[in-house]
Symmetry: C2
Subunit: 201 residues, 2 copies
Amino acid sequence: MPEETDVRRALLEAAARLLGEEGPSALSTRRLAREAGTSTMAVYTHFGGMPALVREIVADGFARLFDRVAAVTPSDDVVDDLLRVAAAYRANALEHPHVYAVMFGSASLGGYRLRDDELDVGLAAFGQLVDVTRRAMAAGALREDDPAAVAGQLWSALHGYVMLELSGFNAVVDDPERQLLWPMLGHLVEGLSVQGHRPDR
Amino acid sequence: MPEETDVRRALLEAAARLLGEEGPSALSTRRLAREAGTSTMAVYTHFGGMPALVREIVADGFARLFDRVAAVTPSDDVVDDLLRVAAAYRANALEHPHVYAVMFGSASLGGYRLRDDELDVGLAAFGQLVDVTRRAMAAGALREDDPAAVAGQLWSALHGYVMLELSGFNAVVDDPERQLLWPMLGHLVEGLSVQGHRPDR
DNA sequence: TCAGCGACGATAACGCCGTTATGAGAGGCT
DNA sequence: AGCCTCTCATAACGGCGTTATCGTCGCTGA
C-alpha cells in the first residue's frame, strides 16, 4: 500500500522523465537520486530497488494505455471504433516508446519480471479490445468466433506494426501508415468478416 | 576486413553462448573475457568495444534468419510456401530469442545502432518474403498489389505474434499457435486475396 | 642472424553502476 | 522524558565499460 510521499512522487516523476527523454540507459539509482534531489537510499526505502521502481513505471504504462483506449468513444460504426482503438493504442506507444518497449520487450532494464498485478492491468486493457471485437461480432461486422482469439489476432498484428515502427523497420515502404498499418488491419478485418470458413494451415 | 583469429572467434562464440543461455545482462566485457580465456582488452583490439561486438552478433542473427528462410523449398502451393516461411521465421526467433530481441528491439545493450550493412542483410531477408509474396500474386493466390507493402503487412503481423510469444503475452488464449498465429495469417491472406477493393480507413 | 617494429593483450587505473551497512535526525506514542 | 519507527545521507564493496601503459611476442628487412 504505497503512500504518496513527496520523495516517492519525485522519484517516479524523475524516472518517467529520464526514461522518456534519454531512454533506459539513463535510469540509474544514482542519476535518479540526483535528479530527484535525494540520495540513492530513497529508492530502496520507497521501492526496494530499481526493478520494483521499473515495475511501477510499467504498471503506470499499462494504466495509461487502458485510459487511452477507454477514451475512444463508441459510435454506431463498430469497425471504425476498432480502427480508432488501434489508433489510440499506436499513439500511446509512439508517445512513450521506451515505456512501451519495457512493457512488452523481453528487454533488460534490471531483470524485472511481469507480476500478477501488472499483468492484470495489461489483461484489462486487452479486455477492452475483446469488448470491441465482441460488439463487432454482434453487429455482424465480424464473423462469430472466439472473441478473445480474434482480438488477440488483431492485437498481434497491431503490436507487430508498432514494434517495427519503433525499430524503424517500417521504412521498408515509403508511407508505412498508409501502406502497412491501415491496409493490414483492413485486410485482417476483411478476412475475419468472411462468412465461409477455411481450415487454418 | 576481420581476420578470423582464435581469440576473435572465441569471443564471438562465448558472446553467442552467454546471450543465448543467460540473456543480455550476462554480456559484459569482463565476463566475456573470462569465458573466452583472455582479458577485456581483446574485445577492444578485435571489435573496438561492446557495441561493435553486439553488431557482429546482430549481423550473424540476420544472416541466420536469411538462411533459415532460404532453406524453405518452394512448392506448387504458394500459400503453403508462405506459411512455411512464417514457420521458419518463428522457429528461428524461438531458438534465439535474445538475439531476435536485440535485432528488433529498440532495446538497450550498449547503445548500438543498426548500420547500413546489417540493415542490408535484414532487407535481404525481407526480400525473400517479398519474393514469395510476388509469386503468390503471380499464381493468383493474392490480389495484385504492391508486393513490398503486402509482404510488410504479413511481416508486421508475424513479427507481432512472435514478439508477444517471446513476452509471454500470447497466453491470453489457451493454444496460441492454433488460436492466434495460424488463424491470423490465414485471415490476413484471405483479406489480401479478395478481389474487391475496399478503401483503407 | 638479428635489430627493429608493430600487433596483441595483460595489468591497472578512472569513474560509473547497484546494493548494503551504518548511523543521524525527525516525528509520534506512552 | 524516553523510546521507537520511519526516512534518508554517507560510505563502502564489488562489478561494470573504457582507457593508458607497457611487456611480449612474431614478423620483416638488411
